[in-house]
């Protein structure tokens, strides 16, 4: 069971995810440089937060053309677990692996702080450690997190209690219909240790670990 943490030029949260997966949870992981084309041996792909390609053009718009993204799409299509956090979520929607788009925050400013969210779906491989309807608290840190989709948002996994960015339907995180691809704006890796003010993010990583352990 190995986590593959994709590193694009401009990724910022790759080391933070590696710290939680490797040091906090003791799980195997490796970085996957964006020019690589193989995900051999990787069970869960993590697209971490940051500013891939400096957010030039649009967040995620350039990263989605990185060579590794073809493999990520194949991995997802084959049912492999794929999670995009913050900029990783933006890359996933740009790549068409999740529906919708992430627009500039309603306040036209970057927002960093803690937000409360309700767990709308506790039946995905990423959220089984939560109770349905549970309120979880995680940090956000983004300028382009306003979720938008032309139809009603579906497969909403996390919903803000107090919408910090004007997201349609207060969407904080969504999954694809099959449930194996998950994107969220908050940073679970920043709240997986008590020292950092909360451990509500740990449930996501633990859910993945359990899912992968069960799959073997």
């Amino acid at each position: 069971m190995t986590f593959g943490i994709v590193v694009f030029p401009g990724s910022n949260c790759d080391a933070d995810v590696a710290h939680v997966v490797g040091t906090v949870l003791g799980q195997p992981w490796r970085y996957v440089w964006h020019l690589e084309t193989s995900l051999a041996g990787i069970d869960c792909v993590v697209l971490p937060g940051g500013f891939s390609y400096g957010d030039h053009l649009r967040p995620g718009a350039i990263a989605r053309f990185s060579p590794i993204m073809e493999s990520v799409a194949r991995h997802a299509a084959a049912g492999g677990l794929t999670i995009g956090i913050c900029n990783g979520f933006q890359v996933l929607v740009e790549a068409g692996l999740l529906p919708g788009a992430l627009l500039r925050n309603e306040a036209l400013e970057f927002r960093c702080g803690w937000v409360d969210m309700t767990v709308e779906r506790a039946d995905t491989p990423f959220t089984r450690m939560y109770r349905p309807g549970q309120v979880v608290r995680m940090p956000i840190a983004h300028g382009d997190g306003r979720y938008f989709v032309t139809d009603e948002p579906t497969d909403v996994v996390l919903r803000y209690v107090d919408n910090p960015n004007g997201s349609m339907g207060a969407v904080a995180g969504i999954a694809n219909h099959r449930g194996n691809v998950f994107g969220l704006m908050p940073h679970p890796e920043r709240c997986s240790e008590l020292d950092l003010g909360g451990i509500d993010g740990l449930g996501i990583f633990r859910s993945i670990v359990r899912e992968l352990a069960g799959a073997r």
Binding site: P9, F51, Y53, D55, E193, L196
Partner: protein
């Protein structure tokens, strides 16, 4: 621009050299300098690079301690924090660029200081910003404030370095001249420490990062904007435009180079003020070598650039790598991986000469020492006469405060005191997952050091009102306050960095302020055993001949051996005992109360005793280490009443307190800014141990009441609901910054 055809006086004016300095150059060179050489001298002998006015005074600072691995003189100072780890830190100003173009000015300020940190081999782990603006009653100041905050946000967030703290205040003296001081902090292993030096002849100079353009020419010598913008259409603004994405790539590439390719390189030097010029001169001067570079090999952003422009460009996001001969392809391969352009632009030589060629044409041939040894000026400062008049002001000559609750509310709503949340929510302060005490929670930011039990505490501070009234005491208090913030987080202060913002030092009254403030800072550093490990000087902060208040900004670093003993400022629970540690005379001289409520910046400052300050720090660190305290908040702007109210507001719980009513007026007891004090809370069971500890440290310790209830109450003077105080405090800055309609 063909400089050589211009007349000497015009050139001198453009590069900010005096006629005397020009004569000195001719004398030392034994010939007339070329145009390129004049430009390079102008930059290297500028105050910004050459510290002409400040160098003799900076020698007053204590810079040594057993834990100092690198003092002033390198790109950043470095101190040991144990476990084979070290912290690199430095503060730097970007005042004038931010006054011209606040967003880019502040953004490139962040970029510049971050490069100083990873140039030492350290991974940048924190940014702090010390900002000063004119009052928010003008649209211009609101624009500058929002632009600067937006620029810091855009740049800092993109490079993935958390902006964890800083301080912001507003005063009339900054109306035309805001201050943007950025402090950056990095973490490194001792083994990774690298300096900007060459080993000897044959080392290869590689320029990496952004292409070189016409931006920022004469940024260092400073007069350029006026001279350059008037008539010449090919000229560009002197404010550089930053690209944080390239910076992020440079951080990762340079740190990868140090990790995987350390033996291929001998030194790193960032390109800041005066661009390639200062980078190569500093390398050569420090190493006792020469350098030979060919500007034709420098990749350009635009065609037609002269050697002069290439040498003085301050294009951002560039680094100079000093590689071992024959190893350049390995080094460049790492940069290629990160999609960064690099070029070999020259070699280290043994003759001590800085030789600049443009293809076959020699444009400069000057001993590095000549560039590096700017003439220094030692002046006899003159004490401003106004100081005596200001000191003689007696706050008791004012009518007694009719409404103490209203006065407290006014202070809580003052932009200097009010919550800065509307600012720091624009900064990513949680990336890198080390932030244990975030902005708004404590007196200092506290970051854990992964893999150890340790944490570091960081703070910036300077109350320029004090420096205006008494530069020596004000300088000392700036050091004390920054270190007190750190100690109030449970950390032992171990080093400071500084950024000295003053007016024109050629005016003898300003020189007096500079000399006095530095002397006061140096005295406080000695008393508190904190060395100055790096710093920056920003002079000529004047608008239409009116100087800013002297503002020697101080950034303090503290060390916590066990991160679990960190302290925060908010009251924690009903029933905890509240006490004031330290004592000071109740005098309103220089206080925010006088400034905010009576519009007066005057009076004699309450006496500052550096030994009492040191004792307070030792007590707080010991009490935190023994887990005796539940909260700690130092007394600063607004004095005791504001500190108490903030602890209640942050904790969202009231307190019931009674202090000894002396013969002084209540407002003096409540709002005096006497130094070396803190408000603490703790469980009743800890009281005997705390009393004992206070006695041992010789620190006055007075219990004054208990945490609890919905109101903040002090004697019969203050009784205000926590919720209402919170709302006043929480939204005042945001409201003032957004207020476009109701004010002129």
């Amino acid at each position: 621009m063909n400089v050589t055809t211009l007349l000497a006086p015009a050139i001198l004016d453009m590069v900010a050299l005096s006629i005397d300095e020009y004569r000195l150059i001719v004398e030392r060179l034994g010939r007339t300098p070329t145009g390129v050489e004049i430009g390079m001298f102008g930059s290297m002998w500028s105050e910004h690079c050459g510290y002409k006015n400040s160098k003799p005074l900076l020698r007053l600072f204590p810079t040594q301690a057993p834990w100092v691995l690198q003092g002033p003189g390198e790109n950043a100072g470095v101190v040991d924090i144990g476990d084979g780890l070290a912290i690199a830190m430095k503060m730097e100003s970007h005042n004038h660029p931010s006054a011209v173009e606040p967003h880019e000015g502040a953004a490139t300020g962040v970029g510049g200081i971050i490069r100083d940190i990873f140039t030492m081999g350290a991974r940048p782990i924190a940014i702090l910003d010390a900002l000063r603006f004119g009052p928010l009653d003008s649209a211009r100041n609101r624009y500058l404030f929002q632009g600067v905050v937006g620029g810091i946000s855009a740049y800092g967030n993109c490079i993935g370095v958390p902006t964890v703290g800083g301080d912001i205040s507003f005063a009339e003296c900054y109306r035309g001249n805001p201050l943007v001081n950025v402090m950056a902090v990095g973490l490194l292993r001792h083994d990774d420490l690298i300096r900007a030096t060459a080993t000897g002849a044959g080392d290869v100079l590689i320029l990496v990062g952004s292409d070189t353009g016409r931006d920022g020419i004469h940024g260092a010598s400073g007069l350029a904007s006026r001279e350059l913008s008037a008539e010449r259409e090919e000229q560009r603004p002197t404010v550089q435009v930053g690209n944080p994405f390239i910076e992020k790539l440079l951080i990762e590439a340079c740190l990868e180079l140090l990790r995987d390719g350390r033996h291929h390189i001998v030194g790193l030097q960032d390109l800041g003020a005066a661009g390639i010029t200062s980078a190569v001169v500093e390398v050569a001067a420090k190493s006792g070598t020469g350098v030979e570079i060919d500007v034709a090999k420098v990749a350009r952003r635009e065609s037609g650039m002269s050697a002069y422009e290439v040498m003085l460009s301050e294009s951002q996001e560039r680094m100079l790598v000093i590689a071992r001969a024959g190893h350049e392809s390995v080094v460049r391969a790492i940069f290629d991986k990160w999609e960064l352009h690099s070029d070999v632009i020259g070699l280290v030589t043994s003759d001590g000469i800085v030789c600049v060629r443009d293809g076959d044409v020699v444009e400069c041939e000057v001993p590095a020492k000549l560039f590096a040894e700017a003439p220094t000026h030692r002046r006899q400062g003159v004490r401003p006469i106004v100081l005596d008049r200001l000191a003689s002001f007696d706050p008791e000559s004012l009518a007694p405060e009719p409404d103490l609750n209203a006065a407290l509310a006014t202070l809580l709503a003052h932009p200097d005191v009010a919550s800065k949340r509307s600012v720091y929510r624009q900064y990513d302060h949680t990336v890198q997952t080390n932030t244990l005490v975030a902005p708004g929670d404590g007196d200092a930011a506290v970051l854990r050091i992964k893999g150890t039990r340790r944490a570091v505490a960081l703070s910036t501070d300077c109350t320029s009102r004090y420096c205006q009234l008494d530069p020596r005491a004000g300088g000392a208090i700036a050091v004390a306050e920054a270190c007190r913030n750190v100690a109030s987080s449970g950390a032992r202060p171990i080093a400071i960095t500084d950024c000295l913002n003053f007016g024109n030092p050629e005016k003898l009254e300003i020189y007096y302020q500079l000399e006095e403030a530095i002397s006061g800072m140096a005295d406080a550093c000695r008393a508190l055993s904190v060395p100055v490990i790096s710093g920056n000087v920003s002079l000529y902060n004047e608008t239409d001949g009116t100087p800013i208040y002297p503002t020697p900004m101080v950034g303090a670093l503290g060390l916590i051996d066990d991160a679990d003993s960190r302290l925060t400022a908010g009251f924690r629970a009903e029933g905890h005992v509240v006490a004031v540690v330290g004592s000071a005379e109740a005098s309103l001289g220089g206080s925010l109360y006088l400034a905010a409520i009576h519009g007066v910046v005057a009076g004699r400052l309450p006496h500052f005793d550096a030994q009492a300050e040191a004792a307070l720090h030792a007590f707080l660190v010991a009490a935190a280490g023994e887990r005796l305290l539940m909260s700690c908040h130092d007394l600063s702007d607004g004095g005791f009443a504001v500190a108490l109210a903030e602890s209640a507001i942050i904790g969202r719980i009231g307190c019931n307190c009674d202090v000894v009513a002396s013969d002084r007026r209540p407002e003096a007891i409540l709002f005096s800014e006497g130094q070396s004090r803190a408000v603490v809370s703790f469980e009743a069971a800890a009281l005997p141990a705390l009393r004992d500890l206070a006695t041992r440290h010789g620190v006055p310790f007075q219990t004054i009441g208990a945490v609890g209830g919905k109101n903040i109450r002090v004697n019969s003077w203050i009784d205000i609901a926590v919720d209402s105080a919170h709302d006043t405090w929480a939204y005042a800055l945001e409201r003032a910054a957004a207020d476009v309609e109701s004010r002129p």
